[in-house]
């Protein structure tokens, strides 16, 4: 006779149990961490994808499947490895990064990079050689050709970035381990939407967990709509 399930699946009659500054700070941390991680990952991934997409060498297949495997890398393990790296005893120990948003960014970079690299590799590889040749023929330098390739693949690259963002913002195992789900003075320091949801779920407060889940999904949808709108305006090219 618990009144939760059906109530929640319809519109929750529960009063919103959080202070707005608390929720806002959680959303901010989530967005800050995921966005920063995705930006850095994209900057690192695009050159790799371009290099992999248009050169061939021994072991390229292996490298590609390592990237594919990386897409399924367990976030808990990534979190542990990053925590070792930034903990007192680790190689980055002197930076005092354990349980900071920056450590979370590090862990999410590791998680998002294979996704972004893998998906943009596919996007970039499918750019017609003819268009690259055309850019070169018009007097473009190698850099110009790369820029044209990225522009042509922009829809696919946007998808890659979104997939990376989705992986980052929806991930809980890694950020929990390296960030620690910390709240200070009623505002989030390293608590993200996912760790907050997990905390609510642990306490059996399923309604509030679902409300936060709704916020998270809405956020992901919003970012998707935004990025797709930016990346759009020319899905296919005349062939």
């Amino acid at each position: 006779m618990s009144e939760l399930p059906l109530e929640v699946l319809s519109i929750p009659a529960v009063a919103f149990p959080f202070e707005w500054p608390y929720v806002r700070s959680i959303i901010e941390v989530s967005l800050y961490v995921s966005t920063a991680a995705v930006l850095v990952s994209t900057l690192l991934s695009l050159p790799i994808a371009l290099a992999l997409g248009f050169t061939s060498f021994r072991g390229k297949g292996l490298l590609t499947s390592i990237i594919t495997t990386g897409m399924g890398f367990p976030s808990v393990v990534v979190g542990l490895v990053v925590l070792f790296g930034v903990s007192n005893q680790g190689p980055l120990g002197s930076l005092e990064l354990a349980f900071t948003p920056e450590a979370m960014i590090l862990s999410q970079i590791v998680l998002a990079m294979p996704v972004i690299t893998g998906v943009s590799l596919a996007a970039v590889s499918s750019v017609d050689d003819g268009v690259r040749d055309a850019a070169f023929a018009m007097g473009g330098t190698r850099l110009d050709v790369a820029i044209v390739t990225i522009r042509e693949a922009r829809y696919g690259i946007a998808t890659a970035v979104l997939a990376g963002f989705g992986r980052a913002i929806s991930e809980v195992g890694g950020v929990l381990i390296v960030g620690g789900n910390i709240v200070v003075s009623g505002e989030s320091y390293t608590r993200t939407l996912t760790t907050a949801i997990q905390l609510e779920a642990r306490q059996g407060r399923y309604e509030t967990a679902m409300i936060l889940g709704g916020v998270l999904v809405a956020l992901v949808l919003l970012v998707n709509a935004l990025v797709l709108r930016l990346g759009d305006g020319g899905g296919g090219r005349y062939r």
């Binding site: 354990a98 929990l176 620690g180 003075s185």
Partner: protein, 299 residues
């Protein structure tokens, strides 16, 4: 011992599965595995232990997805019983809470005999204090202790860190960040070898104040509310845990030669601790017994 209506015939429950909802701190110590093995052997049954936060464990039971709950948050247990979801609560065992911190005790709370003093010192020196921040039994106890000391830590600065996590995680984070935390002795002992934290304020087990007492109870889910629950089996389980044999297992369970829990179910004057709503006290039998189902007639 009590095993419900059909407890005489073991064959009726053989092969069944009991779902136990409990807290992570109970499960992480390894005690449950030690308890479940002889029970499963004796009755030919299987125990599924689902370890969650205190709130989630009770919620699982409220939904009828568990047959029996073992937690250590008396007020929440009472609410659970009061709402009619549980019957036949028994005291099971206890240990205590301790305040642990970096071994060199930078704030110097080791000298304080009272909890209030130790907490005040932490607040004054603004030493890092890691709070579970998850409304668990431990967290509730901690908040109560702060209130007793007249401090509102959540409002008083960055030294008070809510980590929203289980006991084990809180301990590892305290270990990494430095500072203090309130821990239950069982989890602390079972993790002692992994971390570099020492007890600075003892609970009653170590001669400390009674306010750090940490009692565990076990409750069967009310079969009148959820008819699918394995009530007979749940009662058999409660019966076994509170039997001589079960209590001996608790008594004898050690980690690194230290006893984690102290049996409480058997005493010369047993206190069954069945919760009975005060409004009922006049109209119902004054001595509810563990093997009676009469109290399930409520609602």
């Amino acid at each position: 011992f009590a095993s419900g209506d059909s407890g005489n015939d073991g064959a009726e429950i053989a092969g069944e599965t009991l779902t136990l909802a409990t807290t992570t701190s109970t499960d992480d110590t390894g005690l449950l595995a030690a308890l479940n093995e002889p029970f499963e052997e004796r009755f030919g049954v299987t125990v599924h232990t689902v370890a969650k936060g205190t709130g989630a464990a009770l919620e699982t039971a409220r939904n009828g997805d568990a047959d029996v709950v073992m937690v250590h948050a008396r007020s929440l247990e009472d609410e659970f019983l009061e709402d009619g979801y549980g019957v036949n609560r028994r005291d099971l065992m206890f240990n205590d809470f301790v305040i642990v911190g970096e071994s060199d005790d930078p704030a110097g709370i080791g000298g304080e005999s009272e909890v209030e003093g130790a907490l005040s010192t932490i607040a004054e020196t603004e030493s890092t204090f890691v709070s579970r921040g998850d409304n668990s039994g431990t967290h509730t106890k901690e908040q109560q202790l702060w209130a007793d000391a007249g401090i509102d830590p959540a409002e008083s600065g960055e030294w008070y860190v809510e980590t929203g996590s289980g006991m084990g995680e809180a301990l590892t984070r305290t270990n990494e960040m430095g500072g203090y935390t309130l821990a239950d002795r069982g989890t602390y002992l079972s993790m002692k070898s992994e971390i570099d934290l020492k007890i600075h304020v003892q609970g009653p087990v170590g001669g400390g104040p009674e306010s750090l007492m940490n009692p565990y109870g076990i409750v069967a889910v009310n079969p009148a509310v959820h008819e699918n629950v394995a009530y007979d089996l749940a009662m058999a389980y409660i019966g076994f845990l509170t039997s001589l044999e079960g209590q001996e297992v608790i008594e004898g369970y050690t980690v690194s030669d230290e006893q984690l829990f102290f049996p409480e179910a058997l005493a010369e004057e047993p206190n069954f601790e069945q919760y009975v709503p005060t409004a009922w006290r006049s109209s119902s039998d004054d001595s509810p017994s563990g093997s009676s189902n009469e109290s399930t007639d409520q609602e």
